[in-house]
């Protein structure tokens, strides 16, 4: 079988070469001829060597089966970035929540969250209110103290003014005057220092 076919091939080549066609067209049938020549070669040998060849092929195939990770090939720039990996076996697209139970759980979670937020807000508001109240009370107290001090001073002045009018003695008068004189001075000094 084989020799006869090879002969036919030869004849084909001969026809091509002998033909008046261009080199390009002639090259194509040449390649065809080669591929055809391979086929009969594989078919040609007896069954035993064929089997051995088949086993060799399988061995080769087994060796060739490597995953890309095993090979440690440096990653190249691809359409999808290196870091992004598509999850396998997962549903593509969005996951909807439509059953009542899961909606209820989400609702309960959200409600608890909001409840906590409102509670904390209220606590904060109450604390602020307390602080404000305390400050107000303190300010009121201070004002009261100042007022009472002023009243006392006024009273003292009035009394001292009344004394000299009641008593006719010069010494006491002078003393009181001196006291009266010193006191306003002191007051003045105070006012200056405040200013």
């Amino acid at each position: 079988m084989a020799p006869s076919r090879t002969s036919t091939m030869k004849s084909k080549h001969a026809t091509n070469k002998s033909g008046i066609r261009n080199s390009k067209t002639s090259s194509k049938p040449q390649s065809d001829g080669v591929s055809k020549s391979k086929k009969p070669k594989s078919k040609g040998p007896p069954p035993k060597p064929q089997k051995s060849a088949g086993s060799l092929a399988t061995l080769k195939k087994k060796r060739r089966v490597y995953t890309e990770k095993e090979l440690d090939i440096p990653t190249l720039n691809m359409i999808t970035p290196i870091g992004v990996e598509k999850p396998k076996g997962k549903k593509k697209g969005k996951v909807f929540v439509d059953d009542r139970e899961s909606m209820m759980t989400i609702l309960a979670m959200v409600n608890a969250d909001k409840e906590g937020q409102i509670e904390s807000k209220m606590m904060k508001a109450r604390q602020m209110e307390e602080i404000r109240e305390a400050r107000k009370a303190e300010a009121d107290k201070r004002q009261e103290m100042r007022k009472s001090k002023l009243d006392e001073a006024k009273e003292g002045l009035r009394k001292k003014r009344k004394r000299p009018t009641g008593d006719g003695d010069g010494k006491e008068n002078t003393r009181s005057e001196a006291a009266a004189g010193t006191k306003p001075l002191k007051l003045k000094k105070k006012s200056v220092s405040f200013a």
Partner: protein, 188 residues
């Protein structure tokens, strides 16, 4: 038209919970005790969220997306950043389950319905113990829901406020049905 995803459901509920109390769970409760009882569901259609009966939503699947304008009650819109904006159309649902309320006097109704905030002089009464920046539903004195907003002050602070001070920032009012007539139900 599609159901909401988990994150969308969460944002929607968080928004609704601003205005409502625990009774919000009645929103998704089945209508009766039967095994195949009808219930209300949320459906997203062209970034708008609708609160609709399940049976109606199933019927609506027979209408093509571009031809379907609206179904059920429109609650609001999902923004492109994933936030949720409540529309005035959600008012009936909010008012049913409202937690904090503000009643507006008759002289304050029109200013509110024209888009103004609520000043203290217009407040008839309000829920006690309301914190600052809390969602409230606004009613007229005869308990007609007019809109909703956010408190500007807590109840205690608002008491000390002068009459022209703002107590509640408007978020939506019934006047929008007229003012935003063109955009409220438009699909584009």
């Amino acid at each position: 038209m599609r159901p909401l995803t988990e994150t969308e459901t969460q944002t929607l509920f968080a928004k609704l919970a601003n205005y409502t109390g625990n009774s919000l769970k009645n929103l998704i409760a089945p209508l009766d005790n039967g095994p195949n009882a009808d219930r209300y569901v949320f459906r997203l259609h062209q970034s708008r969220c609708y609160y609709v009966r399940l049976s109606l939503a199933n019927l609506a699947t027979s209408i093509s997306r571009d031809k379907l304008l609206s179904l059920g009650t429109c609650l609001g819109k999902f923004t492109k950043t994933g936030k949720f904006r409540l529309h005035i159309t959600a008012l009936p649902i909010l008012s049913e389950h409202a937690r904090y309320k503000v009643w507006v006097k008759a002289n304050g109704e029109m200013p509110f319905l024209y888009g103004g905030h609520i000043v203290k002089a217009h407040v008839g009464r309000w829920s006690e113990d309301c914190p600052e920046h809390q969602g409230v539903v606004v009613y007229s004195m005869n308990d007609t829901p007019l809109g909703f907003g956010v408190t500007a002050r807590s109840t205690g602070e608002a008491r000390r406020l002068d009459p022209t001070g703002i107590t509640c920032f408007r978020q939506a009012d019934c006047g929008e049905y007229l003012r935003d007539e063109d955009s409220l139900f438009a699909t584009s």
